[in-house]
Amino acid sequence: MTVAGVMRQYQVVGRKAATDDHPNPEAYRMIIFAPNAVIAKSKFWYYLHQFRKMKKTTGEILDCVELTEKNSRTVKNYGIWLRYSSRSGTHNMYREFRDVKLTGAVSQLYDEMAGRHRCRPRSIQIIRTATVGAKDLKRNNGMQFAKAGVKFPLPHRVSSAKRGQRALSDSTYSTVRPTTFFG
C-alpha cells in the first residue's frame, strides 16, 4: 500500500456473510493502521483471509471506525512489534518510538523501516503495539530522552537554504560569514 503522510488507526469489524445454516456467524475485529478507510478495509481482508477461512467476496464488513488518540498532549513511548520481509527472508522485529500519538509512532515506523532497511510498506505487518513506561524501554535512543532532566544544546545550527529564510536575504552579498553558534 502507498503510505502518504500520516497513518490513521481504524477498528474494522467483519464476518462471513450470513447464510441459512449459519444465520449469525462470528464477527472478527481488527485494529488496522492505514492512510484511509478504503485501504483499511482492504487490509482487513488481507489479514483475515490469512487467519480464517473468509474473504471479501464471501464476507461483509460490519463496521469501520477511525480511532483517535485519547490524549495527544503528552509524549509517550510506543513499542511496536512487527513482521517484515527483507530481500532474503522474513523476520520479526521490535522497535520503540517516542511520539504524542500512536499513529504518529506508526508513521515514524514506516519511514524508519524504509530508511534503514529499504523495506516497503507492503512488506510490513504490525503485530502489536503498546505504550511502554519509561523504565521498561529497551532501546537506547528513547531511553535517553525519557530520562528526567534531559537537556542538550543545539550545536551547529544550519538554516536550511530550501526554506529561503536566510538564503534569500535582503542583500545578495555579505561581508560576514554566517554563524552557526547560537549559544
Binding site: 535512543n141 530522552f145 537537556k151 544544546p153 543545539l154 547560537f182
Partner: protein, 134 residues
C-alpha cells in the same frame, strides 16, 4: 565557548517559522533529538500546545521552573512568578524584533516623520562637530 542555552523542559523559545512565527513559547517536554512539545501558555503568548521541530525554534536565555508535561494552569502560574513576559520584552532581542515590526508597518506619513527626525538629528550632530573642530 561553552554552550549556555540548552533545549530542556522549561526553556523559553522563540518560534521562527510556521503559523506561530514571531511568538514565544515554553518547552514542556522533549520528544526526541529533532522535536519537542511546546506550549505558550496559550493565554499569554497565543501558542497552542503542539509538537514542533527544533529547526523551527530558537532558544532564548530565559527558563521557567516547571515539571515535565506541566499543565496550562501550572505553566501560567510559573510564568507569572518568574515574570517571564516582561523579562523577554526587556531583552534587546525582543526590542529589535519589535522595532523591525514597527518599521515594516509604518505608513507613508510615518516614514516622512522619520525622515524629518533624522534630518534634525544630523543637523544637531553637524553643528556640534563644527564647534569641536573650531
Amino acid at each position: 565557548m561553552p554552550f549556555t542555552r540548552y533545549a530542556e523542559v522549561g526553556r523559553v523559545v522563540l518560534v521562527n517559522y510556521g503559523p506561530e512565527s514571531g511568538k514565544i513559547a515554553t518547552i514542556v517536554d522533549i520528544v526526541d533529538q529533532n522535536k519537542c512539545l511546546i506550549d505558550g501558555p496559550q493565554d499569554i503568548t497565543g501558542v497552542v500546545r503542539q509538537v514542533i521541530p527544533f529547526s523551527r525554534i530558537a532558544l532564548t536565555d530565559l527558563t521557567v521552573k516547571i515539571q515535565r508535561n506541566a499543565r496550562a494552569k501550572t505553566l501560567k502560574a510559573a510564568w507569572a512568578e518568574a515574570d517571564t513576559l516582561n523579562k523577554w520584552e526587556a531583552t534587546s532581542w525582543a526590542k529589535k524584533l519589535a522595532a523591525k515590526k514597527k518599521r515594516a508597518s509604518l505608513s507613508d506619513f510615518d516614514r516622512f516623520k522619520v525622515m524629518v527626525a533624522k534630518k534634525q538629528k544630523s543637523a544637531i550632530i553637524a553643528k556640534k562637530m563644527e564647534e569641536l573642530a573650531a
